[in-house]
Homo-oligomer: 201 residues x 2
């Protein structure tokens, strides 16, 4: 997340460097294209070309298109975990919560162009018969549970409702920033949310 939104974990086994390299390039390219164009509008040929992999060759690395999408979602889940973990360095829950919302300010240009990478995925994957919608929901659950915990540490009543309120604000702000292609909308809206956080302590 954050500056390096489409980043993925480093490869570990140098024996399988090329293979893993291609696989990861495919997931990275797919993640970017899924964000920019949506899931069903993105073709495997586009993903292959963006990853510099021969077209049609995608099926060697992923049994089906859905499997590739699933890999993208799982990568996002990892990114969310890493992001939340990085906030532990902050001294108090209010500062940690503002470190969360600041992420969306930092990727405001990306958000204005293509929407929140998490929100658009959840929106498009919602209501699928396979488990992909639930997988996408995990991204949001991680954040909501984490935020709820922060509010609880602040000693506020109804920490879950506050977490939902905060993150709904972030997601709704991202949607409007995208709709109006206006990164500044994201910035000023998050400022509003941060003032709200400060008002609670």
């Amino acid at each position: 997340m954050g500056h390096c939104c489409y980043a993925l974990s480093e490869m570990t086994d140098s024996h399988q460097r090329d293979r893993a390299g291609k696989r990861e390039r495919l997931v990275a390219s797919a993640g970017e294209l899924l964000h920019r164009q949506g899931v069903s509008a993105t073709t495997l040929a586009q993903v292959a070309e963006a990853a510099d992999v021969p077209p049609g060759n995608v099926y060697y690395y992923f049994k089906t298109k859905d499997a590739l999408v699933r890999a993208v979602v799982d990568a996002r889940i990892d990114e969310v975990r890493t992001m939340l973990g990085s906030f532990d360095a902050q001294p108090d829950p209010g500062t940690r919560l503002k470190a969360l919302t600041r992420q969306w300010v930092e990727m405001r240009d990306l958000v204005a162009r293509h929407g929140c990478p998490l929100g658009t995925l959840c929106s498009e994957l919602s209501g699928r018969d396979d488990g992909l919608d639930r997988e996408a929901a995990k991204m949001m659950s991680l954040i909501l549970d984490w935020a709820e915990d922060q509010f609880r540490q602040m000693g506020t009543p109804d920490p879950r409702d506050l977490a939902v309120n905060l993150f709904a604000g972030v997601q709704g702000g991202a949607l409007l920033a995208n709709t109006f292609r206006d990164p500044d909308l994201m910035t000023s809206h998050v400022r509003h949310l941060e003032h709200w956080i400060d008002s609670l302590s």
Copy 2:
């Protein structure tokens, strides 16, 4: 909007009853399918079948698929206008704003299943080279401008920011309700927003 979310304006010319009837049935069916499945995942064959029109025949009524999508967006814009107009009956701006948010509570089941009919459209149509993204943005502009005006009537400072804050909350709540398939999330979140509105006056 509201209870009859996919409703369209009545036909006017009984001479063209069948023709207009089919055209409107196509727009209504398309609107529902676009909401349920998304734009690019919806095929014209599905729309034709849902509207009980011969497949392939869609092109007699709409030059292209984009033209059909545009007709759906325009119909939504009209629905938004009608909805906002219906709130004029309310006595004061605070009550009018709560009448707005109440709409999303009333369609909470629809929202939980397929997302906000306005938000998902804007999300998917954003960043298109044709003017469809701007057309979709009009739906949101109408609501934001109207809400801004209500806040201004309440005499609050920064009415535009408050309008954005309110509607971002609604849209974000809809996204989370959809992600977790939980209509109650929409209900309780809107209650939170309504308390916030009350706290301003």
